[in-house]
């Protein structure tokens, strides 16, 4: 270990999740992945400190869910106690601004409430910090600059350099969270402080309903003539418009395939 390699202070913002089938409170999947990432960072950079932060009401159900994070191997969680239905962003921004960590990790979107995924963006805008979404891994942290791997669709990765302090959000591409241990979760501490809260009035005005199934899009055939309509109705799903190379040598065939692969840009 080199002497200049010092640990970073990481704050993980966690929320109370919702089990997709039973609807019970649980640790939110993305937030747990974020915590797993932070714990991995702690192992990678000795001297790092990971703190947990949650803003919301304290109830029996939510406490059980929050203890799910503590069971992953932490001793305490800071709880900013607010009434149900209040805006968490000002409280979190104030708390983070008072004792700024170097890296803030959040899940991409909450599993309850509006779940718009706006919180990391709102915090970044308020604190004036850079934000990276879709984090897959933290490669290294050196001299106040973090090298991150961002997940792209189709399993691709992109390497980014970000100046700290920064906010990063994780989604399904981050490492899967470890199991939560029951005993340590019971023994760990919830440090609750009451913070002033403003109710989220806009959210209260909206109408919320359990999600309806979205209508499936119909294949609408807009044909001018009966013949076109008949052809559309009787046609097989796949059109036979492809090019067929028959009786060519292997080289010519390979050439044609190579041309297509290059046009599509899948060859690196």
């Amino acid at each position: 270990m080199r002497p200049e390699q010092q640990g970073v202070e990481v704050a993980v913002l966690v929320s109370v999740g919702r089990h997709p089938i039973t609807g019970r409170a649980r640790r939110a999947d993305q937030d747990a992945r974020g915590l797993e990432l932070a714990l991995g960072l702690e192992r990678q950079l000795p001297g790092s400190r990971v703190s947990l932060l949650h803003a919301g009401p304290r109830g029996e159900e939510s406490e059980a869910a929050l203890r799910g994070y503590l069971g992953m191997g932490l001793e305490s969680l800071t709880l900013l106690e607010q009434a149900e239905g209040s805006d968490a962003i000002p409280a979190l921004a104030e708390h983070l601004a008072a004792a700024p960590p170097q890296l803030v990790i959040t899940g991409a979107r909450a599993e309850r409430g509006e779940g718009s995924g706006l919180l990391p963006y709102a915090l970044a805008e308020r604190l004036g910090w850079p934000l990276v979404n879709g984090l897959a891994a933290v490669e290294k942290v050196e001299n106040g600059v973090a090298t991150l791997l961002q997940a792209l669709p189709r399993g691709q990765r992109r390497r980014l350099k970000v100046r700290l302090p920064a906010i990063v959000s994780v989604d399904g591409a981050a490492p899967v969270a470890r199991q939560s241990a029951f005993g340590p979760a019971r023994r760990a501490e919830l440090e609750a402080t009451s913070v002033p809260a403003e109710p989220d009035r806009e959210l209260a005005e909206w109408r919320l309903a359990p999600a309806r199934k979205r209508p499936k899009r119909l294949k609408i055939v807009k044909a001018a003539s009966a013949r076109d309509r008949f052809k559309a109705a009787a046609a097989k799903a796949e059109g036979g418009s492809g090019q067929v190379l028959e009786g060519v040598s292997a080289e010519q065939g390979a050439e044609a395939i190579l041309k297509l692969l290059k046009e599509e840009g899948v060859l690196r």
């Binding site: 609807g23 990765r157 807009k222 390979a254 190579l258 297509l260 692969l261």
Partner: protein, 424 residues
Amino acid sequence: MSEIRRRDPRREWIARNRLHPEHLDVLAELGQGTAAVEWMGPNGVIRKNPHAIGFIGPNGVKRIDRSGAQQGGQAAGGARQAAQDSRRDVTIEAPAFLVAVVPELSGGRLSGHDKDLLGLARRLADADPERPGAVLAVVFGEHKEEGFGEAGIDRLMHLDDDAYAGFAPEARLAALSAVERELAPRHWLLPDSPLGGADLGRRLALRLGERPATGVWQIEADGEAPLGWGCTARGAAESLDIQRPLPRVALALAECAEPVDETRHAAEPLSLAEAIPSAFSRIEDLGQVAVDPAGVALAEAEFIVSAGNGVKDWDGFHHAARVLGATEGASRVAVDDGFMARDRQVGATGTWVTARVYLAVGISGAIQHLQGIQSCDKVVAINLDPGCDMIKRADLAVIGDSGEILAALVAKVEQQRGGQRDAA
């Protein structure tokens, strides 16, 4: 030349007798093969030649196809052209307001999601026929798209600069802020997709001080809302429907509206009067990282080389997949015979893949397999049997021995890579 028209009764007789062996030649000589069906008569009345309509069917019987797409006749190409040009041209000179759309342009082309979003933008713009709005598309970086007008775009702002390449949210945000200052669109619409709008749209909304609607999948007119529209959005990990007034910034899901298919819009280029201030970026993009293709999940792999019963040289196949940098897939037969692992199976019982390019080697294309590759963009087939179903599905099919063709392909790719390394 004399003015007297001479008749050739024999040729006329041949021209009338469509069973005569010289019938077609004579018709061509007389110019009746391409005889005009309709023309303007001397008195300004449309005249028709009913004998010139239709074509002679395979049994020597005259057939008339009244659908307009004549099959055996000469005018087939023209009719197809006419079918394509059925879109109505729309030009909006002085729009009452602007609806700004930032398409994601994955792979440089408008995706299905983008087209749906533009359909939604058209609904917002065309709600009041007296005072139509214009749809403004802001496009970053290079693109390969030609059908902007067909997708429903009235004004196109193309911002092509190196600063917008890769992951550059801060530079793009600065550009969009400049658009907002100068043009002040009434609506901002972005796709709620991870690569494109989900990130940029949230940043933009907060920069504009708006609370955006995310995951919008339906809009309806609502007189009480400030903008005259209400929307239904998904919330809480897809488990809630939120009904709320449509805010200025909305992030919409795929299939939020029908894409434009009846009109063609102008897509006039538009540029900003003032220069866009360059943003100081604290995020540096170091480019994409090479990912081991074998580690990519089959369902989300971009390029799949898949093997079936026709593959005999398995070492060659694995080598080809490695050289091409493709993820390996297999048909059920290859898996059942033990040549490939069960988790590599593509099809109804295996994985439903979404690759952009799917190279099927020696797969004849059982219906279960074709179901699994429904959402692939381009399918390339290498097969010995020219009549199999996979060839019908494929965009490019090569008939031949799969081992030889793969070996030739590998040789070509390696040769090119070697050449590049020498040049570099």
